[in-house]
């Protein structure tokens, strides 16, 4: 029932789709774990013979039975190691499928980026971590339920063949346990949801606080942050405790059922045993099989609990997709590279429609549901032109660039590239057509070269570094372009961060360079030199936000945005 792309596909269908991504791995795990679960069956039979030999004083029979027990035990545990190692690999595979789908959608899917993350990046990480885990738990649950059920069926059959009453008496408590877990289900789900949300608040707060550690330190706000952290920790503890108790109830249901059922079987077979129709070995076999059979509700309850959790988790990961209603999208087939790692990245930089003219007409943006934004903006950038956007704070300069690039949704307006309308600029206005330098660029904690190239070959690196005057800074860095720049480029100066981001855009050799306020972080001289070098390299077509005189003077065209406040049409 896993119609691909169908909104509202069931949890089972989605989990199954993930399993099918690497069917051999899943079937191998299924076979190995079923084998492991089945081991108590032959061991129980051998035990029956062993106990009967003890009663009969038959030394030879005992020797055979004990040898069989020993053999099966060694085989069982050896099998476990193989199964566990294989399972750990398969497990990572199950986690990887929704992760890759979510990240692919976030980082390369169409449509605007704005609002793509429902919360902070730290909160989103909890979706990649905990929610992916929950879904994988369902796949894992199936392995155990399958193995345990097959084992239970065989066990019940053997018990029934010895004494029908014994076989039947097992089923009643097991059914009751399933009923109880069914009652628990909806509650468990609600508790789990609350616990997850509280966890996400905590991880979000940690990520956020350390992301802004400099502001916290500068203000001496450590204690205030501590107090706040304490408060959200306390809230989380309340809901998480309840959630854990729910999990324990399910576990107890399974284990308790086993022991109680042993008692019930004893009760019901007492007269047959007393009459000598059952041997001591039979009682021993019953006791050992009942424990295994009564384990089934535990596995089923565990699976159904995870299945309910996974239901929430699937929605949470699906919220990261382009089409947030397409639950099945998280399980789309993925080529994983777990065993050998991915092959080196090859970026396609071919371009067939070189920029002649980019035209924007009637562009309107309303963002954040607020009553301000951009109205009816129109401008043109032709090959070789420098177009500057300027205007007061909050007039929507950055918004204009981001709407053009499809990073925020536009309400209306057309964008054409050489006269061809562009529906989804987010996937079209990217390198090699357009490269972008945001006002507050985000660099990644890796080597300088890597954060500039982001997967491109390094043949253009030196040129880009020269253009942005970073060549002069390199000498002062310990490992040159291999220097680690720290999280978000924390080890670079503000201007270096900006110029690194400029290099990142230039190294992509875009037809059009879109720059949001390079001047703010650069001194006059450096900026002047940067522009001189860029001009010298023959590179010219650019759309730039700036209010620096020097830049405005060189512009071929200036787009002036008005003040937005006070322009609030309808309430």
């Amino acid at each position: 029932m896993s119609a691909p792309g169908r909104p509202g596909a069931s949890t089972t269908a989605i989990a199954w789709r993930i399993a099918r991504n690497e069917p051999v791995a899943y079937l191998t795990a299924l076979a190995l774990w079923t084998g492991f679960h089945l081991a108590p069956i032959p061991i129980g039979l051998a035990l029956k013979h062993a106990l009967d030999s003890v009663v009969a004083g038959d030394g030879g029979g005992l020797g055979v039975a004990l040898a069989a027990i020993a053999g099966f035990e060694v085989g069982r545990w050896a099998l476990l190691v193989v199964a566990a190692v294989q399972w750990h690999g398969a497990w990572v595979g199950w986690l990887t499928v929704p992760r890759v789908n979510a990240l692919e959608s976030l980082a390369t899917g169409g449509g605007p980026t704005a609002g793509r993350l429902p919360g902070s990046p730290g909160e989103a990480v909890s979706r990649f971590r905990d929610d992916a885990n929950d879904i994988a738990m369902v796949l894992d649950g199936w392995l155990d339920v399958a193995g345990a059920s097959i084992t239970a069926a065989v066990g019940v059959a053997i018990m029934t063949s010895i004494d029908p009453i014994a076989g039947l008496s097992v089923s009643v408590p097991v059914a009751l346990a399933l009923l109880a877990s069914w009652w628990l289900g909806p509650r468990l789900r609600a508790w789990r949801r609350a616990a997850r949300e509280a966890t996400a608040r905590v991880t979000g707060f940690i990520g956020d606080s350390f992301g802004g550690v400099q502001a916290i330190k500068a203000a001496g706000a450590e204690s205030a942050v501590h107090d706040r952290f304490r408060a959200i920790n306390a809230q989380r503890a309340t809901v998480a405790r309840r959630d854990q108790l729910g999990g324990e109830l399910v576990r107890s249901l399974g284990y308790g059922t086993g022991e109680v059922t042993v008692g019930i079987v004893l009760l019901l077979v007492a007269s047959a045993f007393r009459r000598g129709e059952l041997s001591v070995g039979d009682i021993g076999l019953f006791a050992s099989y009942v424990t295994v059979i009564a384990g089934v509700p535990k596995w089923v309850a565990r699976l159904s609990a995870y299945q309910r959790q996974a239901d929430v988790s699937i929605d949470r990961i699906a919220e990261l997709l382009v089409d947030t209603t397409d639950r099945a999208g998280i399980a789309a087939p993925v080529v994983t590279h777990l065993r050998h790692g991915p092959a080196p990245l090859v970026v396609d930089r071919a371009l067939d429609d070189r920029l002649e003219e980019l035209r924007v007409d009637g562009l309107a943006v309303r963002h954040r549901g607020a009553d301000h934004g951009l109205d009816d903006v129109a401008f043109t950038v032709r090959r070789g032109e420098l177009v500057v956007v300027t205007g007061p704070v909050g007039s929507g300069k950055s918004t204009l660039l981001r709407a053009l690039l499809g990073l925020v949704p536009r309400e209306s307006g057309t964008i054409t590239w050489n006269g061809v309308p562009i529906e989804d600029p987010a996937t079209v206005l990217v390198p090699p057509r357009v490269a972008y330098l945001p006002q507050v660029p985000r660099l990644f904690s890796e080597a300088l070269a890597e954060t500039v190239l982001l997967g491109l070959p390094d043949d253009d690196l030196d040129r880009a570094l020269w253009l942005t005057c970073l060549d002069e800074d390199l000498g002062r860095m310990p490992d040159g372009t291999g220097t680690m720049i720290g999280p978000r480029g924390l080890r670079l100066s503000g201007g270096q961060v900006q110029r690194t981001a400029a290099a990142r855009a230039l190294v992509r050799r875009p037809e059009l360079l879109v720059i949001d306020d390079l001047s703010s972080a650069l001194d006059v001289e450096t900026e002047a030199r940067l522009w001189a070098r860029v001009a010298e390299s023959g590179f010219r077509t650019a759309l730039i936000v700036s209010h620096r005189r020097q830049v405005l003077d060189r512009a071929d065209r200036v787009v002036v945005l008005g003040e937005r406040y006070g322009r609030s049409p309808c309430p």
Binding site: E73, L245, G341
Partner: protein, 586 residues
């Protein structure tokens, strides 16, 4: 490589110490639950003997009924124990989380430069989570099963000394194997967690920079990295499993050998009429039950290994000392402060000084403008003043006191820095302004300050006013963010102000509009103003030009501006368009 468990163990002990009383209470209930569990195999043996000896059906029914009753009661008590230990684990775990977060917050920025927020989420929450699971389960699974094992041994010895000895041998062997293998599995487990920490750390960063990635066509590269990290997780997880589960299997086999030995021994003892068949059944159940606690303990081993690895990292983090030791407690004089840099040399990395022999005096209430190329070390001045870093050589004095002698927080409360990077939090506007209540101010004051910096119209558009939730840095324009930073500085009411490119993201109109507010902020305060836009420096008393970490020019602003040969006047001319870029002499 030899690894000492001492710091991790000490940390665990310290975290649990305040919980001694609850632990005692939990233990009492646990002992009762385990006694009930212990009674069940004995009852099974009695049942078998009674049947073999032809006792009445009523008697057999009674024994079976007792068995059921014991099973139910044991389950109830166990739930009670779980509830208490879960509560305990959250108390202790959250205490540790808070301790770690607090400690990490107080570590120096150099340390933070090496640890991404994503990694810290894993350290402060992920690792402690493993510890929490451990706290919640250790009592029940490890301690409870230990009690059970001791009880079973006692009963076995009571039945027959030889049987007791066999079981004891099994326990000793199993435990020895466990302990040996556990130590060997920790590094593998640690490598697995490290691989995961990297995976999540990288994800957190990429998710925080989605716009940059997408608009530069690097989304595929982010996915490529995820594949790389996943492959590493795959390798480390399988290896850790081989070590961990291998250990588990070996001890499980040891226990199976115990069951076989018990049956063989039971055969001999029964044939010589030393024990009944029921006793053999009880002993066999015990030997099987031995394996069950072992399985539980082994399952916990995984948690234990995780917890132990986590505790070790936590202990390491707590043992990390800030490279900025807190000052001894010399108080700063009240009122406007003198700032003095005396032959200051500083480098972020040894051998590449950012500042060299800087001498700079900022008299109380005076304003000094600092200009220089990017990377020339201007921003570092502010960082040294705030003691984000300590000088390599020379002294930084504030109010005549070496900053290293002043308590760090006291120092920072007196100095406000407005930088080009405004860090906003996923919290209410109020919390963003007061930094979670650090600056104590009534709402009226907050609104007034927002008005002063020109954010009143913006405030009016917010649905919930000061309670409006700002979803991190994405919810304001960069200019609005910077105005917010000005508002923060006002609320801090500092004696020294450092404006580091503070108005760089403001357009000239807005800048002029908050000019009055800036004026008010700077009035009567000492100020260091770092700027690219020279217009920002029109009102400073003195100008300092820094190049490549050294002061290359300094003097009263008016004097430098009037002299056409100075760098300052040349820069003035570039910025007003009087010079073309290619004429700039560097």
């Amino acid at each position: 490589m030899p690894r000492t468990p001492a710091p991790a163990a000490r940390l665990l002990a310290a975290t649990l110490r305040p919980e001694r009383r609850s632990v005692t209470r939990i233990l009492a209930v646990l002992v009762a639950a385990m006694a009930l569990r212990l009674s069940m195999p004995v009852l099974l043996g009695v049942f078998v003997d009674d049947a073999v000896n032809g006792r009445s059906l009523d008697r057999l029914t009674q024994v079976a009924g007792l068995y059921i009753g014991a099973a139910l009661a044991a389950e109830g008590l166990q739930l009670a124990v779980v509830w208490s230990s879960v509560k305990l684990s959250w108390r202790a775990g959250n205490r540790l989380r808070e301790q770690l977060a607090d400690h990490a917050l107080r570590l120096d920025l150099g340390w933070h430069g090496r640890h991404s927020p994503g990694q810290l989420i894993e350290r402060i929450d992920g690792d402690v989570e493993a510890l929490c699971v451990f706290f919640a389960n250790v009592v029940l699974e490890v301690l409870g099963n230990a009690i059970l094992v001791v009880g079973m041994l006692a009963v076995a010895f009571a039945i027959d000394v030889r049987a007791g000895l066999v079981l004891l041998a099994v326990v000793v062997l199993g435990t020895t194997l466990l302990v040996r293998q556990r130590a060997a599995a920790v590094p593998a487990r640690e490598a697995e967690r490290e691989a995961n920490a990297q995976l999540y750390g990288d994800l957190e960063e990429r998710l925080g920079g989605l716009e940059d990635l997408r608009a530069n066509g690097a989304g595929t590269y982010a996915v490529h990295r995820l594949h790389g990290h996943s492959a590493r997780a795959w390798r480390t997880a399988r290896y850790a499993s081989l070590r961990g589960d291998g250990a588990y299997a070996i001890s499980a086999i040891a226990f199976a050998a115990g069951s076989v030995s018990i049956l063989a021994l039971g055969f001999v003892l029964h044939r010589s009429d030393v024990v009944t068949v029921g006793a053999v059944v009880s002993l066999f159940r015990f030997s099987e039950m031995m394996r069950h606690p072992l399985e539980r303990i082994a399952e916990q081993m995984k948690e234990f290994q995780k917890a132990f690895a986590g505790a070790r990292r936590a202990a390491t983090m707590l043992a990390t000392e800030s490279s900025i030791p807190d000052g001894a407690g010399v108080a700063l004089p009240s009122g406007p402060l003198t700032v003095e840099l005396d032959a200051v040399t500083f480098s972020y990395r040894p051998g590449t000084p950012v500042l060299r022999g800087i001498d700079l005096v900022l008299e109380p209430g005076r304003h000094v403008g600092v200009i220089g190329r990017t990377g020339s070390g201007k921003t570092t001045l502010g960082r040294l003043l705030l003691r984000f870093w300590d000088v390599d050589d020379g002294v930084v004095r504030v109010g005549g006191v070496d900053v290293r002698e002043v308590p760090v927080q006291a120092l920072r409360r007196r100095i406000a820095v407005v930088t080009q990077d405004v860090e906003l939090f996923d919290a209410s506007l109020r919390d963003n302004l007061t930094l979670f209540g650090t600056h104590v101010a009534a709402d009226e004051r907050l609104v007034a300050v927002l008005g002063d910096v020109g954010l009143a119209p913006w405030l009016a558009t917010l649905p919930d006013g000061l309670d409006t939730h700002l979803a991190g840095s994405g919810s304001l324009s960069a200019g609005e963010g910077q105005l917010l930073a000005f508002a923060r500085a006002f609320l801090a009411d500092p004696d020294v102000v450092v404006l580091d490119e503070a108005s760089s993201r403001l357009d000239p109109v807005t800048e002029a509009r908050i000019g009055a507010a800036t004026h008010a902020l700077l009035a009567g305060r000492s100020a260091l103003i770092i700027a690219h836009r020279l217009a920002t420096l029109d009102e400073v008393d003195e100008i300092v030009v820094i190049d490549d970490g050294e002061i290359v020019e300094r003097g009263p602003r008016a004097v430098l501006a009037a002299d056409p040969s100075t760098r300052y006047s040349r820069l003035l001319r570039i910025s007003t368009g009087g010079l073309l870029a290619d004429e700039v002499v560097v």
